[in-house]
């Protein structure tokens, strides 16, 4: 391996780490503060509690910021939507994607069961005993926005907002990152998209124990989606798989 290529690789890794920490940590904190301010001022859905209203505003702001961030990245790194594979649409592969998300959900739930069992045996002083306590831990953190929106808004616009966020996430981590790191080899692109996708889940979580569940889901999703994107070059079935994963998680 050339020294120049290795230096380029190191520099690009550091740059992406900085970009993702900046967007997913600091801009999200700013947006959450803004959502709180909006929820106090506005009269929209005044009959419900302030928590639910802030949650919905947070998710709407975050989804719109995701779309803007995604488009900005594509513009800066001079990529087309055709290169990323957004316009390769087959009906059969969309059906395959919907089934794939269901399977990923249950595989990650198997691994989560293993994590729960490990915590109950080796660190039982810090772990809850009941299923209620585990469900509280699993449903803490950023996923509360999704629960609040699904409870408050009617179903179709709520899931549309969720889909916008998921689609832009998929484009960032599978489309942009994978295409930019492919000249350094398949394994570099695969592992960097996987590690950054798992690292992104940790921000804005109350504790490490509640980080376990989204990180395991992200690792299972990252492995299979990275492999399938390398093989087929289609992004739409992966977006639908991500969406069906979230439908089961929110139901």
């Amino acid at each position: 391996m050339n020294t120049k290529l290795a230096l380029n690789f190191m520099f690009s890794c550091l740059l992406w780490w900085v970009i993702i920490v900046f967007f997913y940590k600091y801009i999200k904190i700013f947006l959450i503060r803004l959502a709180k301010w909006i929820a106090k001022i506005s009269n929209w859905y005044n009959h419900s509690s302030l928590q639910e209203r802030t949650g919905t505003f947070e998710l709407i702001l975050i989804a719109s910021s995701h779309v803007i961030f995604c488009l900005l990245l594509i513009h800066v790194f001079s990529l087309n939507l055709q290169v990323l594979g957004l316009f390769k649409i087959n009906i059969s592969s969309i059906i395959y994607g919907a089934v794939l998300g269901v399977g990923e959900m249950y595989l990650s739930s198997l691994l989560c069961l293993f994590a729960i069992r490990l915590m109950q045996t080796f660190q039982y002083q810090n772990a809850p005993n009941n299923i209620e306590g585990w469900s509280v831990l699993a449903k803490a953190g950023w996923i509360r926005h999704h629960f609040h929106t699904v409870n408050l808004i009617p179903i179709i616009p709520a899931y549309l907002v969720v889909l916008l966020q998921l689609a832009s996430e998929e484009v960032i981590f599978r489309g942009v990152l994978f295409n930019l790191f492919l000249p350094y080899g398949f394994f570099a692109a695969f592992f960097i998209s996987l590690i950054l996708f798992a690292y992104m889940q940790i921000f804005l979580m109350p504790s490490i124990k509640s980080c376990i569940f989204p990180v395991i889901g992200a690792i299972t999703m990252g492995v299979f989606h990275g492999y399938l994107y390398f093989k087929t070059g289609e992004l739409v079935p992966l977006i639908i798989a991500h969406f069906s994963f979230f439908i089961i998680a929110l139901a």
């Binding site: 395959y96 249950y106 595989l107 198997l110 005993n129 299923i131 299979f224």
Partner: protein
């Protein structure tokens, strides 16, 4: 496999979906079992059998059965005998592992005493933080942990021998047949293949999650042993015969200790 050429990229998606569903077959069955539709009236074993048979039928479209069995009588007869010998050898190992884990029961008693004290502390702490919306608990509040234990105990009395033997065959076809075939067909290094196969054996062990830790550990060893025998002979009959022997002895053991048996629920 003519019709697969009509659908673009049917094999890549189909093989990955088969791999995911066969690894996650335990949790899918668990989900159907705990849902309101079943209502606790159907055995967990019966649900498991239905889910695994559907996965095997889906796998027949992609991977033909001729690749998993060598259709000569002589090799299959030898493999069957070797599988039964492996089953007898495995049960001795399992007894040793259970005896080893039984030494450390003093720590378990400490754990139980701690659990009784701090059972509801975490939920109260979460409610004080404002995390609990009543909508989040709607599904899990229906049954307490003790009631689920009772249901599991009642179900274990209802298990039939035929279902256990059928599940043994289906599990071997899924975990040893399909998954090894898929991993060997993907172009990987030898070391990466070994890592993937050990991970599959580990997930096979953890699909018995409702049992205690020593049984999970011994199932991991059984997974590796069955895989080794399958790779040596090239047929699944070796693995299937050992699994059949093992399940038959488990049924006998369950009938003997029906009154003293207490399953752990998660």
């Amino acid at each position: 496999m003519t019709y697969l050429h009509l659908i673009p990229q049917a094999e890549t998606y189909g093989v990955t979906i088969l791999a995911i569903f066969s690894l996650a077959s335990f949790t899918i069955a668990r989900r159907f079992h705990l849902s309101r539709g079943s209502g606790g009236h159907i055995d967990f074993v019966k649900v498991n059998l239905i889910v695994k048979s559907l996965i095997v039928l889906y796998g027949l479209l992609l991977i033909p059965m001729q690749n998993l069995f060598s259709l000569k009588f002589s090799t299959e007869f030898v493999a069957c005998l070797a599988g039964i010998v492996l089953g007898i050898f495995y049960i001795r190992i399992e007894k040793k592992i259970i005896r080893y884990f039984a030494r450390n029961e003093k720590t378990k008693n400490k754990q139980k005493q701690y659990m009784l004290k701090a059972s509801k502390v975490h939920v109260i702490k979460a409610r004080s933080l404002g995390l609990s919306n009543n909508n989040f608990f709607r599904r899990h509040n229906s049954l307490s942990n003790q009631q689920k234990n009772v249901f599991d105990y009642a179900e274990l009395c209802k298990i039939k021998l035929m279902h256990l033997l059928l599940i043994a065959i289906l599990e071997e076809i899924i975990f040893r047949g399909y998954l090894t075939y898929i991993t060997l067909n993907i172009s990987l290094n030898i070391y990466n293949e070994i890592i993937v196969l050990i991970f599959i054996a580990f997930l096979f062990a953890f699909s018995h999650a409702s049992y205690s830790w020593p049984q999970i550990a011994s199932k991991f060893i059984f997974g590796i042993m069955a895989l080794f025998v399958f790779m040596c002979f090239g047929t699944l009959t070796s693995a299937i015969s050992s699994h059949l022997y093992l399940n038959a002895i488990a049924y006998k053991h369950l009938q003997q200790n029906r009154k003293t048996f207490k399953p752990q629920a998660i």
